[in-house]
C-alpha cells in the first residue's frame, strides 16, 4: 500500500530524521555544555516536526513546548554543575568509551535488523478525523487509569524532588524527635515551629 503522506511530508520526515540524529550525536561531540543542551533541543524539535508531519499535532506541540522549557532549565544546571561549562578548554569526560560505543551500536544494529526484517502489518482501517480528539477521549475514558497512575507518579515526583533538594528540613532544625524548643539554625532568627 502506498503511503498517504505527501511528497513534501516524506521529504520533511527524512530531513528532520537526519537532523534529529545528527543533533543527538552533536550532544556528545561539542565541548560547550550550552551547545550540547541546545543540540539536544534541536533533536527534540526535529522529532516534534516529524510528529507534526505524522498528523499528531497536539503531541508535537506538547513535545516542542515541554522540551524547550526543559532544555532551558537543563542549560542552567549544566552551567552550574559542569566543571567546563563554556567548553573553552577541550576535555573529554568519558569512561569506557569503546564498550559504550559497542553497546550503542549493538543496540542500533539489533533494532535495525528487526525493523527491516519484520513483515509489518498493513493498515486497513481509517484514520480518525482529529487525532487530538481521539487522545482526549482516551484520556478521559478508556485509558483514564493511565492518566491516574501518571498523576500519582508526578505527585510522588514533586514530593521526592522537594525532599531530596531541601538543604535543611524540620528534623535538622528540631532534632530527630522534633523535641527541641528552639530551632538549631546556622543563622538564628528562623521561623519557629
Amino acid at each position: 500500500m502506498l503511503s498517504d503522506l505527501s511528497g513534501w511530508a516524506i521529504t520533511a520526515v527524512a530531513v528532520l530524521g537526519v537532523l534529529s540524529v545528527a543533533a543527538g550525536v552533536a550532544v556528545f561531540v561539542v565541548d560547550s555544555m550550552a551547545r550540547a543542551t541546545f543540540a539536544l533541543l534541536a533533536s527534540f524539535l526535529a522529532v516534534a516536526g516529524i510528529l507534526l508531519a505524522l498528523d499528531l499535532v497536539y503531541l508535537a506541540v506538547v513535545t516542542a513546548l515541554m522540551m524547550t522549557i526543559e532544555m532551558a532549565i537543563m542549560a542552567v544546571f549544566m552551567i552550574m554543575f559542569m566543571m567546563n561549562p563554556a567548553g573553552l578548554m577541550p576535555m573529554t569526560m568519558v569512561h569506557n568509551a569503546k564498550g559504550s560505543a559497542g553497546t550503542g551500536a549493538g543496540a542500533f544494529v539489533v533494532l535495525v535488523v528487526g525493523i527491516w526484517t519484520i513483515d509489518w502489518p498493513t493498515r486497513d482501517t481509517s484514520r480518525p478525523a482529529d487525532s487530538t480528539r481521539q487522545l482526549g477521549e482516551a484520556i478521559m475514558g478508556s485509558h483514564m487509569l493511565v492518566m491516574l497512575v501518571i498523576g500519582v507518579g508526578l505527585f510522588a515526583t514533586i514530593l521526592a524532588g522537594t525532599v531530596l533538594a531541601t538543604a535543611r528540613g524540620r528534623y535538622d532544625r528540631f532534632g530527630a524527635g522534633l523535641t527541641a524548643q528552639r530551632p538549631d539554625d546556622p543563622v538564628p532568627g528562623g521561623l519557629p515551629r
Partner: protein, 105 residues
C-alpha cells in the same frame, strides 16, 4: 514510496536516537550528561510511538498514550535527576558518577 518503507525509515531514525542515547548514558561521567543520554533514548521512544500510531494502528489511541507516557517519564527523569544531583553535590561536592560508585546496587 510504500507506507511500510516510510515506517521502517522513521523507526530506523528512532533506533539511531536510541543507540546514540545509550552510548551517551553509558559513556558520560557527568550526571547531567548521563541524563541527556537518557533523554535521547526517550526521544527515540517518542518517535517510534508516533510512527506506530500513524502507520500501524491510527484507529486506536494506545500508541498516542505511549507517547504521553514517554513525555511524562522524561519530565520525571529530569526532576528526579536534578534533585539527586543537587543532593549529591550538597552532601559530597561531587558532580561525576565515578565519585559515587559506592552507591552501586
Amino acid at each position: 514510496m510504500t507506507a511500510e518503507m516510510v515506517l521502517q525509515i522513521v523507526l530506523t531514525v528512532a533506533a539511531g536516537l536510541i543507540g546514540v542515547g545509550l552510548f551517551g548514558a553509558l559513556s558520560q561521567q557527568t550526571i547531567v550528561m548521563v541524563m541527556m543520554g537518557l533523554e535521547l533514548v526517550l526521544n527515540g521512544v517518542l518517535l517510534a510511538g508516533g510512527a506506530a500510531w500513524y502507520f500501524l494502528a491510527p484507529e486506536l489511541p494506545d500508541a498516542q498514550m505511549l507517547v504521553v507516557v514517554a513525555l511524562v517519564v522524561m519530565a520525571v527523569e529530569m526532576a528526579m535527576g536534578f534533585a539527586v544531583t543537587v543532593a549529591f553535590y550538597r552532601a559530597r561536592q561531587l558532580d561525576m558518577i565515578d565519585m559515587a560508585s559506592d552507591l552501586r546496587g
